[in-house]
Subunit: 212 residues, 2 copies
């Protein structure tokens, strides 16, 4: 564990074991990528997929970020899930329940066609398991227009907060409500493409979102 | 509009007017802050509040990020909302419906006690309107333990995608389902602090979350 990823504040909220880190990464599909462009820090949101200790990012071959990252510059990637508003009796002890991972690495371009197709499937699976098997797969032209990057997760740390607020001892006597308002990401019923051919049913990938 | 924030890819998704940018910033309360620490890019999630063209960030006075940022280094801040999974007939045209803002600036510490209290209220209001009026406000010791930073939004851009998938003309004939699965952030019923004094009702701030 390098000092870059050491959780300095509230060390009890820091977790470094691989299982915890992978588990958080597997709950989301959007990450925020930080990198340095012409001397300035830049943060961009993008989709990702994880397999083993590899994070895959994909994007247009024409994208500035993909080109920058493909040069093997340092990147920092953050994945965070907000799980609740923690409402304490004092303004000071208000907080969030959350899970987050910050990782560091360098990206490299995946060029081998088979490895690239497999990596794109990892990203697709992360967003919606089973969708890859239902759709028209990328043709040669589309593969050329797509950049796939892989980042080996060499250094990462997780932070997690759960549970009720923690107030100062004397504040528990105050007549102020305290508790947690849980926050959840929910999928709503699918909106069918107005241009969909008649007679095509909702696919299993989408149905499964609502059976979980 | 500086070239740093010019939306290069899919220019039709780029929006630069202030109203659009503020509107997106007002829909969220979590941002991802990018900065350079000892030559490396770092991305950290944190709460924020917007008032006029100022973004406020708060944190522990002991936090490494707050100390770094208070030195007036360059920061990039990203706020993103995922609104839907865009499921096309081809893997290639899969996308997300989303709204995001990327902005650039430099932070400065708010030291004047009145301005600091007002800025902390802006962050509190962003997370849960009305909560500030219900709680015990920060005392002198807590104010000292808290750093408040303000970042004037000088340069920002927004990206928005809405609507159904856009497939290649010939793919509309395929027997593949296409559409959008909307994604929503939902609040679930509050979990009362097990240590709450008897006889205290749910406050208006929390009730209002469910009346919206």
């Amino acid at each position: 564990m390098d000092k870059k990823t050491k959780v300095k504040r509230v060390p009890k909220r820091g977790h470094y074991d691989q299982e915890t880190i992978f588990n958080i990464l597997d709950k989301a599909f959007l990450c925020h990528v930080g990198f340095i462009h012409e001397g300035y820090p830049v943060v961009i949101p993008t989709l990702y997929g994880r397999k083993d200790d590899i994070l895959f990012l994909h994007g247009s071959a024409a994208s500035r970020m993909m080109k920058d990252l493909a040069n093997g510059i340092d990147v920092s990637i953050c994945v965070s899930l907000v799980n609740g508003l923690v409402l304490a009796r004092s303004a000071f002890h208000h907080s969030m329940n959350y899970e987050s991972v910050v990782l560091f690495g360098k990206a490299e371009m995946v060029e081998d066609p088979e490895a690239k197709m497999a990596g794109l499937k990892v990203v697709s699976d992360q967003v919606l398991k089973g969708r890859w098997e239902e759709v028209r797969l990328p043709n040669e032209k589309e593969m050329k227009a797509t950049t796939l990057l892989q980042i080996q997760i060499k250094e990462a740390s997780a932070k997690i907060r759960t549970g009720p607020p923690g107030d100062d001892k004397e504040d528990y006597e105050l007549d102020i409500w305290a508790g947690v308002v849980p926050v959840k990401h929910k999928f709503l019923p699918a909106e069918v493409d107005p241009l969909l051919k008649a007679g095509i049913n909702l696919p299993d990938s989408v149905k499964n979102l609502f059976n979980e």
